[in-house]
């Protein structure tokens, strides 16, 4: 199996504040990799670094076989056709309808016929569990959970082999979150999709994550779920074995 994503010794500093003191992580093809960590541990900064939106102070990122720092504009554009992203607050384009939001990456990267563009956009909207009517709504008319789903529909628009998701299930009701889990599992099974997601949803972690990376003390500890649960680090212990962790683990029979 090939590594889809490799992060090597990434250091991120804001002034004197060190967020990442050398983060290493590797994600293999077909994995669902969950990133967890306390508030302010730099999960979103790590995602921005992986996306090339932030240049790390040291270290490098290798994404889908390409070293991020060394790519020219055309190669970078081609690379962007191969992953889909959702942001924490959705980041839908507020001036466009949901359908237009989903069509935007398609127009940018694929050559589709006009009817295909219409129907495939609608299909994506329905795929993430939104009603068809939602396609013609503007983001301001949607609820928080619907915005999350619309953002996922946009990330899936071009059938990318890699998905990078920032807290995709926060703000979803448990039924919606469970449907999301099933959709991701399905996509992984059928399309060999690789998913890297930041999440705090213990249910999602237990249900779908094949491996988990924990950001603590500016570094990442990554292991299988069982391995992480047994890690002696106090933050990890209180994360998985705190009152909430116990309840979920019991329910999942872990």
């Amino acid at each position: 199996m090939a590594a889809v994503l490799e992060v090597r010794g990434v250091v991120n500093r804001f002034g004197s504040q060190v967020v990442h003191a050398g983060v290493d992580m590797t994600v293999e093809e077909g994995e669902i990799f969950g990133i967890i960590g306390g508030s302010g541990s730099g999960k979103s900064v790590l995602l921005r670094t992986i996306l090339g939106l932030r240049h790390p102070n040291a270290g490098g990122v290798r994404l889908l076989g390409h070293e991020l720092g060394s790519l020219g504009a055309t190669e970078l554009h081609a690379l962007k056709a191969r992953y889909g992203v959702t942001f924490q607050a959705g980041a839908l384009f507020t001036a466009l309808t949901v359908r237009q939001n989903v069509q935007l990456p398609m127009l940018e990267h694929l050559q589709l016929s006009a009817p295909a563009l219409e129907q495939l956009a609608l299909l994506r909207v329905q795929l993430v569990g939104l009603p068809a009517e939602a396609a013609e709504k503007y983001p301001a008319q949607l609820s928080g959970g619907m915005i999350k789903r619309a953002a996922l529909a946009r990330a899936l628009a071009i059938d990318p082999p890699l998905l990078l998701l920032d807290e995709p299930t926060s703000g979803l009701d448990p039924i919606g979150a469970a449907a999301f889990d099933e959709l991701i599992l399905y996509l992984r099974r059928e399309l060999k999709l690789t998913v890297v997601m930041i999440t705090h949803d213990l249910d999602t972690i237990y249900r779908i994550c094949s491996r988990v990376g924990v950001l603590v003390d500016g570094r990442m500890i990554s292991d299988s779920l069982e391995g992480i649960e047994g890690n002696p680090h106090p933050w990890i212990q209180s994360y998985f074995h705190g009152p909430r962790g116990h309840a979920r683990a019991a329910r999942h029979g872990a």
Partner: protein, 370 residues
Amino acid sequence: MYLAARRDAEQLNLTLSGDWRAPQFAAIDAELSALSLSGVRRLRVSAQQQQLDITCAWLLQELLGRARSGGAAVEFEGAAPAALALLERCRSGAPPTPADGSEWFDPAHAVEDIGRHAVRGARGIAEGIRFVGRLSLALVHAVARGRLRPISIVRHVYDTGVTAVPIVSLIAFLISVILAYMGAQQLRKFGADIFVVDLVTVGVLRELGVLLTAIIMAGRSGSAYAAELGAMQLNEEVDALSAIGAEPIEVLVLPRLFGLVIALPLLTLVADLIGLTGGALLCHVLLNMPVQQYLQRAQGAIASTTFWVGVIKAPVFAVLVALSGCYCGLAVRGSSRELGRLTTQAVVQAIFFVILVDALFAAVFMELDI
């Protein structure tokens, strides 16, 4: 090649091959459209071991739909691709009609549009009046409770006033240069060169100093107010303020209003000063007029009211610019496009009102013989 077709009398055997993924859409679509389905009664598809992403599954499904509507029976060799089942599950409910369907010109629509514009205009005026009412109430409350937020006001005086001094000075200087040049050229014909001084001093003090400062402020601060409050509105910060129990108009609008009401007259003062200096310099250069003579002539040209007639307008213009900016900013709803539209509207509206009110002032001063 993504497709191998073998025709067997009324049966068509299709074998999918290759990489059926979204980037290959155009090529696969071309192959599928080239496929003739006439006379096919049975379509047998072999898609085992085939990776189909959703985009390409849709293409395959379209083909199967075409075959079925042509009266052919569709069957799969082995299991049907799972992606097809997923598509079937998604396709529930009728497709919605696009909301922004651009219809061709229709007279009924044009009449409707006129009506809609009229209603919107009337509503806009009502909204504006309501805003002024809320503002007045907030002002009374703030004064009564002694909560005028001086620190915030000082910040706005700095942002809108102090940082605008260079641009206001430069524009005032250039305007006096233009006035002096034009005046000198025309008045020289009558040998009335000396009246250039009248033109510059009266022009700058009465009208141009304050008018141009107000227009600069509309472009500089009016737009900033609208964009700032609009972004806060989009980010639900304004709602958060209300929820916390702070009246948004008191916290956001009043300090900006007071800031500009203080800053604009002071900037007008600067503009007047620089304008007169520029006039003196130009008279010296163009007409060889000693500064002493300029000053004497200026003293004669300016009545005791000339300066005040200009400066008295400044706070009024400040109110117009600040209110346009804040009102438009708070009217932003939902989308970034609205933010752009209302910021533009804030500036255009502010400049329009400033010039309109300036014309009223001119008429009133004329009648009062000032």
